[in-house]
């Protein structure tokens, strides 16, 4: 249903959008974190960009693994091991596959969520990536259960991720440097949840064009 060429386009678009939002993400992180999220993510995705050519014609698992290892070795901040683990775990359920179906998409998403939970010892409500990723995953799963197509399902996931980002403004940070701020972290949106939203939006943009 979805061949691995579309994944390469998605990865390329994620990189483009993350790099375009470098200053925005860094500014969000400057307020409650250590002002490096945009810089770190851009570093990571620039390195991923340089590997797009060698991903050509590879299976879903191999492409996701390359993205994972590249982010792990180049990002530098906490988002490296976190997103790296998400991509790495997702790669294991589509190993060797050139085409994937709805079930694979759900499995990949679920692995990404579980990977980040495990790596960050975190869950929804801690003001992290997971506050965008978990609602997005739940919306996607529900949409598929209701018989929606992939484009619609990802549109709903994107909306849920954006709501999740908004929600992070109302809660106290429990992880990372922002957690030192306690209640003073309220009112500020989480940079990690924001980069997750940007990545999910990037998936949609490609699905809409294809």
């Amino acid at each position: 249903m979805c061949n691995s060429n579309i994944l390469i386009k998605i990865i390329e678009n994620m990189g483009k959008n993350i790099i375009e939002n470098k200053d925005y993400l860094t500014e969000l992180d400057r307020v409650i974190g250590d002002a490096d999220h945009g810089i770190n993510m851009s570093k990571g995705f620039s390195a991923v960009d340089a590997k797009l050519d060698e991903m050509n014609g590879k299976d879903w698992g191999s492409i996701l693994k390359t993205v994972a290892m590249t982010l792990i070795s180049t990002v530098g901040g906490a988002s490296g091991p976190l997103y790296g683990t998400a991509f790495l775990r997702a790669s294991t359920v589509v190993d060797g596959k050139m085409e994937i179906d709805k079930e694979d998409i759900i499995n990949m998403f679920e692995q990404a969520v579980e990977g980040i939970k495990m790596r960050g010892k975190s869950d929804k409500g801690d003001k992290t990536i997971l506050d965008a990723l978990i609602p997005a995953f739940e919306a996607l799963k529900l949409a598929y259960e209701e018989g929606k197509d992939t484009k619609t399902a990802f549109k709903m996931a994107e909306e849920a991720a954006l709501e999740g980002v908004e929600y992070t403004k109302n809660i106290i940070a429990k992880k990372g440097r922002a957690s030192y701020l306690g209640e003073r972290s309220i009112g500020h949106q989480d940079p990690g949840a924001t980069s997750t939203y940007i990545m999910i939006k990037s998936i949609n943009e490609v699905l809409e064009q294809n």
Binding site: D36, N40, K43, T74, V75, G76, P81, R119
Partner: protein, 131 residues
């Protein structure tokens, strides 16, 4: 000998701690700095940490001392990427990076037992500087 890997966001901190430990515990220590990113930024690099663990490993085991935040996450990820026989003899110590590294390096110069290393790290964590 138990090998040590010093994981810091700053390469200078990691290298400085290694120098300090050589001074305090002797030059024949098996201690590898793993600080900063591969392009010289402040940060941690799980691949560098994994390579450093392999370098520090001589069969007896490796103890990782890390500073804050993502250094722990990166160290955990590095451990997952190791071969099983090295992985099961590697651990991350929950101790202040400077005080812990000195205490543990002195211990590593006299004991090959990981339990002694862990005890030294634990003591360093609770030792007061001003009594």
């Amino acid at each position: 000998m138990i090998g040590l890997v010093i994981v810091s966001h700053s390469n200078k901190i990691a290298e400085g701690i290694v120098d300090l430990c050589y001074e305090m515990a002797g030059k024949d220590l098996n201690i590898i700095p793993a600080g900063g990113t591969s392009d010289g930024r402040i940060g941690t690099d799980p691949i560098l940490i994994k390579d450093s663990i392999e370098k520090a490993y001589d069969g007896d085991g490796v103890a990782i001392l890390a500073d804050i935040g993502s250094s722990i996450m990166s160290s955990e990820l590095a451990m997952e990427m190791l071969e099983d026989d090295i992985k099961k003899k590697t651990c991350i110590l929950d101790t202040p990076i400077v005080e812990g590294s000195i205490a543990v390096s002195v211990q590593a110069s006299i004991s090959k037992d990981m339990e002694d290393i862990k005890r030294a790290a634990e003591e360093a964590r609770t030792t007061r500087k001003i009594s």
